[in-house]
Symmetry: C2
Subunit: 446 residues, 2 copies
């Protein structure tokens, strides 16, 4: 296979070829690096990429396999890691000059789990400033004049541009789904607490969630199966049975799914193109799709989310505020300043809204729908690099900690990807991937 074909392989295919001895990790990583050399000067997805270091891991993986030792599900497959996730052997600078040169001595839990599965830690991907709004240098791989979205900008762009088949990101508002939608890849943010956050920048612990990027649903399932688990350093995680993501995602749904089309609290901000695309998709579903209205208070969810996020950012970015506030962006300074003024009363009042909302949405999903269909973003990636776009279409699902997946099903008139978002009930993660595969097949047939 030539380098282009290798770099375009899915993680599932690449891992299979390596397992079967038909491909060496070194060849695969070499092809990925070649792809980086070709496209990254324009895309700029990487905060740190050390070719020798990536290749040395690949060679070690090949040697390990050559000795006949047992290998993990991602053996020899390169993965990109958002630069707010600690790596023991690469810098982790959180997208801010305040942390310039920061080199943690330990891997985050999710990185340890990926290494245990045999993955090659390819490099660190660009994040916005401290995973908030001020953009990094990354550009949209489909058009460099457009934003890739954020805050997991580099992870989405690296996967979209074929530089790695898999990447890890995080979402506190819309930081996985939005860049996935803008860049045209699958982006999956599982249920709150499923992937441990130990060793990841704490922004807003009530909202921070780890997610993944891939180019196929199988690949989403494959990486999720490796990184879900309990970690004593993350009180949101729970000991739980292993979730068979790959097996469930590959199944046919036992009965034809029913999809609830939900406009959500940000619908008025959607472009006409987005509104029409969703309508078309619902139309295609026939009697397996119908519109549902969210409860009347759903517009308030944007306020509750902001109250929680800004309160927690203020409390968690104390070091950054005290040591380097002049080097923070104006937008982040504003968030912290507002956050410092919020009362504990309003903060707690916002937090207690979450469980009843989760319950009412769970009821909706368990009684009638397999998943909810809603826009992933207002439209295609906006032009310009000074903003990473509007996360409002993700807010309520992040607030509720529900699993959400961007499906790169469509394109806008400008040729840029137009994603749709599929949302499931908490802990219905694997089934959501199964429903997503079914929906993708419907869309392809339609």
């Amino acid at each position: 296979m030539d380098n282009e074909t290798l770099a375009a392989l899915s993680a599932t295919e690449a891992a299979r070829l390596i397992r079967e001895g038909k491909l060496r990790s070194e060849e695969l990583v070499q092809a990925s690096l070649e792809r980086c050399r070709a496209v990254d000067p324009q895309v700029q997805a990487w905060a740190f990429l050390d070719e020798d270091y990536a290749l040395s891991q690949a060679r070690a993986a090949d040697a390990w396999k050559g000795e006949g030792r047992p290998i993990g599900a991602l053996h020899g497959v390169p993965v990109g890691i958002k630069d707010i996730i600690d790596t023991a052997d690469l810098p982790t600078e959180h997208g801010t000059v305040v942390h310039k040169g920061r080199t943690p001595s330990r891997d985050a839990a999710v990185v340890s789990m990926l290494r245990a599965a045999g993955a090659v830690i390819m490099g660190k991907t660009i994040t916005t400033e401290l995973a908030t709004y001020a953009p990094g240098k990354t550009r949209n791989p489909h058009n460099p004049e457009h934003t890739p979205g954020g805050s997991s900008s580099g992870s989405a762009a690296a996967v979209a541009a074929g530089m790695v088949p898999l990447a890890v990101g995080t979402q506190t508002n819309g930081s996985v789904i939005r860049p996935a939608a803008y860049c045209g890849v699958y982006g999956f943010k599982p249920t709150y607490g499923l992937i441990p956050r130990h060793g990841i920048l704490k922004q807003s612990p009530a909202l921070d969630q780890v997610g993944v990027f891939a180019r196929t649903i199988d690949d989403v399932a494959l990486i999720c199966e490796q990184v879900v688990g309990y970690h004593e350093g993350d009180s949101a995680t729970r000991p739980r049975a292993r979730i068979p993501f790959c097996a469930v995602a590959a199944e046919e749904p036992p009965i034809t799914p029913m999809i609830g089309f939900i406009k959500g609290p940000a619908w008025e901000r959607a472009t006409d193109e987005t509104k029409a695309a969703l309508a078309e998709l619902v139309d295609l579903l026939g009697d397996r799709g119908e519109e549902v209205e969210l409860i009347s208070t759903s517009a308030d969810t944007l306020d509750w989310h902001r109250t929680i996020m800004e309160s927690e950012i203020a409390a968690n970015y104390v070091y950054e505020w005290e040591k380097g506030r002049r080097r923070l962006s104006k937008s982040l300074r504003g968030q912290i300043e507002r956050g410092r003024k919020i009362t504990a009363f309003d903060y707690q009042q916002a937090l207690v809204r979450i469980p009843p909302l989760v319950e009412s949405l769970a009821e909706l999903l368990y009684t009638r729908y397999d998943a909810l269909l809603t826009p992933a973003a207002a439209g295609t990636a906006p032009e310009g690099l000074e903003s990473t776009g509007d996360p409002a279409f993700c807010t309520i699902w992040t607030l509720c900690g529900m699993p959400a997946l961007n499906l790169p099903l469509m394109r806008g008139a400008n040729g840029l990807p137009l994603g749709v978002q599929l949302v499931g009930p908490r802990d219905g993660d694997a089934r959501l991937l199964r429903t997503a595969r079914w929906l993708t097949a419907q869309a392809a047939a339609g």
Copy 2:
């Protein structure tokens, strides 16, 4: 046995006699009611006590046993329940006129667990106003001119006065340990999250903890073994293996315990009598006791605790504030007013102090001491009924969610009980009871 002897039985003895068919629950409850008639006009421990209802449960327990059915560990034994803990068939008025006539339709988790163990729910015991500072009508059984302590005033007094062998209370600051010390009974507040709080008035979820009162350590172990467990309605609880409280509490310590005497952040408020009593006890321990100093910031724990408690009271007593603030005490209004002004920033900063403090205390306990010995209160129960005394000797242990036990080992010059507090590491609850038994034996021998 005459009524006086019956009412003085420990729960362990009473349960054994009932199990062996040597005593009927009806006789036992009748004796308890007789004791109530004799002493409660003065003590006033009960918010609700319905003789017929208590006797009907006792008769049902006797009938059940008469049919040869399996019985629980507390079969036929009367238990008092603090009036902030919901009971399906008795009012639960939270110690405030704002909730006058409130009759929940469901039992709190802890009440369900007691019923499952066969206990007779004797009645509801007096709490201070909404489990905060304004006293209820209860008086100290040892001297009616002195406070019984609070907020679990009636539970402590009812057990001390021999009206029931067991009672349940709660502690958000010093509401189990302090009344137990003032009334001269064992009061045990297990590790945060051990006893489920579902169905109990929410005051300050980060601090609220359920505790028990008894006249022997065996009885503390017996009731704890029935009420520890996971409940999905209390996110602080965890699925866990059953803790063999009775077996562990009954064991001899495998090696002679080492006790750390710790003055704690409130030491300066202790009376000379308390200071001397503690010194005497430490002296008695010889080389099995030594003084340890708390970390220098421990004085701040009183502030952190107040910040958390007042913030959470403000957020949880919204109904009481909005519907009846004029009917709340001045002290509670003050707490709520202050709580509403605290920033989310200060609240979170206080919350994040807890885990490192817990860790440093755990380290101390695991490396050198079986338990920490410290005053339970400043001194004996203060004269007067307008205050329930100072909880400051309990604050740091409540904040850290560590198991704490009042040992009614001594008396003051005024003849009132003078308790000492024994504190263990989180999840070291059963071992703490074992150490307490050893310490009690040392004190008796010395």
